[in-house]
């Protein structure tokens, strides 16, 4: 059974290419959301195995989405992604509810698997 994955990112171009790449790498991308609140609602409905959440979203931050997902237990694993590197978010990324952090440029199926344990 393929790992289900929810993609939360406001850049449509990135989402489209990430979906293609992740599906090619064996993931089942069950949903895409362009902002944090839509992502939370979608996760409640879809209960994905992995939620890939961009840190910078137009409405609420990826940290807040991660906290919401953790509270509602609507995603098994939460991974933050960003165009910036992890160090730029300092301890906040480490202290967040997410299970891991991947720079978008490094995104791959293997990285997602490694980060989601």
């Amino acid at each position: 059974m393929r790992t289900t994955l929810l993609l939360v990112d406001d850049h449509a171009g990135f989402r489209a290419r990430a979906r293609v790449m992740l599906e090619a790498e064996g993931f089942d991308v069950v949903g895409e959301a362009a902002d944090g609140r839509s992502g939370l609602a979608m996760a409640e409905r879809l209960h994905p195995d992995v939620a890939l959440v961009d840190v910078q979203l137009p409405d609420i931050s990826g940290f807040e989405v991660a906290a919401g997902l953790r509270t509602s237990d609507s995603a098994r694993r939460i991974i933050l992604i960003s165009g910036r590197d992890e160090a730029e978010y300092g301890e906040r990324a480490a202290r967040s509810s997410a299970d891991g952090f991947i720079a978008k440029a490094d995104l791959s199926g293997d990285m997602v698997r490694a980060a989601s344990g």
Binding site: H11, G13, F14, A16, R17, A18, V20, M21, A24, E25, Q56, G83, R84, D85, A87, E88, Y89, G90, E91, R92, K104, A105, D106, L107, S108, G109
Partner: protein
């Protein structure tokens, strides 16, 4: 402008200096009297004779002092004239006997009495305060004119310049009847006595009612003048009673001689002491505006003027929304001033700019009023110019802060554009390359796979470079986590090892955090590029409302603020009202230190 002012000042200085030459005739006369020793009283009472002889010099000195400290007033020159007149009565010592000169001198000699009364009663304001004073001086002048006339035209033997019965008669003698001449002479001298008593009484009354601020200056003059005029009064009455009626009211003993001698010495000295205590008000005023701290303002100016003009109730008022207000902001009613107060209004371009409320006595001295208004106008203009300067400086400061703010906003916009635009496209490209790589599978053409991997590496490098560029423009960590973590991140990214000591609790104002971060980033970049250092230390702490930050290195040193990079940092720090310094480190290298106020 400067030339003529300097010229006038120099001319005034020379005039004031040359004025002291007026001391030469009294000194010459005193020398002649003391050296010749032919005066009848010289042998009888040598000490009183000497002090009496020097009195004219004392009066002249007092007059010259008064003249220089109150230029334009009549009392200075009059007192000098009194000093000269003191000696003309003794002209008989040097003038040929039987000529008019000794009698002319003797007649004029008496005029020092009304001058003395005028100086004493009008000191220090040069203004006779009331009708009684004016009457006394007027009466004394009239009696002196009469006495001078008698001395010229009806001199009885023994009442001439030499006080000797053997003196030759005046060449102008008209009344040669001895009894008539004697009677006229003694009667006039007798009348002078009560008037002099009046002068003494008025001086004492003024002494008692003096304002405390004026007592220091006026008391010696009034006391000395009162004692002296009392002595003259007694002398006049005693002379009349003893000569005309044969009833001396004063014992011709030691006590009287001692009192008489004391008053003759203390009178002129009191006048000299009082005059010497007079401040040169023009100099005081110049000191006000040209003092080391510049022209005082507001209540300080008021206090300085009160002191300079001996007027403790002097007040400054400025136009307000409702009329006039004092330096303390309280309303001032210029129309409701008591009669003893006067208001001088200054205008600037026809618009009232200030009002000086002062003793109306000042109006008697136009020079002083001109000086006062010039000083206040200068101070008011100075205050206005300083206020304008402060406003302009504040505008410049605000404008600089706005420029920095605008530059920061622009930097944030560019960072956002990079992040959301080019960087996202490159990230999408990297993901696409990864997809292609996955889809081609491991059995694809090795050369194509190698090319694909190389392209992926290039794209990744481009993303990293773009990210570094964006990070330098507006680091997300600064916005997200604050200055402490942002500085730590800076240190971690530095190509040379950086030791940190960061004591920053919580967040600081955004402007402070951004400035501190940029300064640190620039300083660490400079250390890495130019200092040839092997290590650096970044410290930052917040205490007493200030953020103090320093970047020290162990490099070759030589950094200075004239470089454009550091100059830009100085400007940036100054825009936050902070300071930046660059100094050599004790063991070599450079310390860049910054202090920025951060109290919210």
């Amino acid at each position: 402008m400067t030339g003529p002012v300097r010229g006038r000042t120099a001319a005034r200085h020379w005039t004031a200096t040359a004025r002291w030459l007026l001391l030469v005739p009294p000194i010459a006369m005193a020398y002649a009297m003391l050296a010749l020793g032919t005066h009848p009283t010289a042998a009888e009472n040598p000490l009183p004779y000497i002090t009496d002889t020097l009195t004219g010099i004392v009066l002249t000195v007092a007059g010259l002092l008064l003249w220089s400290r109150r230029p334009g007033r009549r009392t200075g020159p009059l007192l000098v004239a009194a000093g000269w007149l003191w000696y003309v009565g003794d002209a008989f010592i040097v003038a040929p006997s039987g000529t008019l000169a000794p009698y002319l001198g003797f007649a004029l000699h008496g005029f020092y009495d009304p001058i003395l009364a005028l100086v004493v009663l009008s000191f220090p304001d040069d203004r006779l305060p009331g009708r009684a004073e004016r009457w006394c001086v007027g009466a004394l002048t009239a009696l002196t004119v009469a006495l001078a006339t008698v001395r010229l035209f009806a001199t009885p033997p023994g009442f001439g310049p030499g006080y000797a019965p053997s003196d030759p008669s005046s060449p102008l003698l008209v009344i040669d009847n001895v009894d008539t001449a004697l009677g006229l002479n003694l009667f006039l001298r007798f009348l002078i006595g009560p008037v002099m008593f009046g002068v003494a009484a008025l001086a004492v009354r003024r002494l008692v009612t003096l304002r405390p601020s004026a007592r220091y200056v006026a008391a010696p003059v009034l006391a000395g003048g009162a004692a002296w005029t009392t002595f003259i009064a007694f002398g006049s009455i005693d002379g009349f009673l003893s000569y005309a009626l044969g009833i001396p009211i004063l014992a011709d003993g030691d006590v009287w001689n001692s009192i008489g001698y004391a008053t003759r010495v203390l009178g002129p000295l009191g006048i000299l002491l009082g005059v010497s205590r007079l401040r040169d008000r023009t100099s005081s005023v110049v000191e006000i505006v040209a003092g080391p701290l510049g022209a005082p303002q507001g209540s300080d100016l008021e206090g300085a003027l009160r002191q300079a003009f001996d007027d403790s109730s002097l007040q400054l008022a400025y136009p307000s929304a409702t009329g006039w207000a004092g330096a303390d902001g309280q309303p001032v009613d210029l129309d409701g001033l008591p009669p003893s107060r006067a208001a001088t209004i200054l205008d600037s371009g026809g618009v009232p700019s200030a009002a000086i409320i002062h003793d109306e006595v000042l109006l008697d001295d136009p020079t002083l009023v001109r000086t006062l208004t010039a000083v206040v106008r200068l101070a008011v203009d100075n205050e206005r110019l300083q206020a304008d300067l402060r406003t302009q400086l504040e505008e410049v400061r605000a404008s600089r802060a706005r420029i920095v703010e605008a530059a920061d906003a622009e930097r944030r916009r560019v960072e956002r554009d990079l992040h959301d635009g080019a960087q996202q496209r490159l990230v999408a490209l990297a993901v696409s390359l990864r997809t292609i790589r996955v889809r081609l599978g491991p059995d694809a053409n090795p050369a194509a796979l190698a090319e694909l991997d190389a392209a992926a590496v290039e794209v990744k490098a481009a993303i990293d470079e773009l990210r570094e560029l964006a990070h330098g423009l507006d680091p997300a960590i600064l916005r997200e986590a604050g200055l402490g973590p942002a500085l730590q991140s800076l240190a971690d990214r530095s190509p040379i090892p950086v030791r940190t000591d960061l004591q920053i609790d919580g967040r600081l104002p955004a402007r402070v955090e951004t400035t501190a971060w940029f300064v640190s980033a620039e300083a660490l970049a400079n250390v890495a590029k130019h200092a040839q250092a092997t290590t650096a230390t970044l410290t930052a702490r917040v205490a007493d409302g200030w953020l103090r930050l320093s970047v020290a290195d162990n490099g070759v040193g030589g950094a200075d603020l004239s470089g454009s990079g550091l100059r830009g940092l100085v400007d940036r720090v100054a825009a936050t009202d902070g300071m930046l310094t660059v100094q050599p480190a004790p063991g070599g290298g450079t310390v860049l230190a910054v202090a920025i106020p951060c109290a919210s």
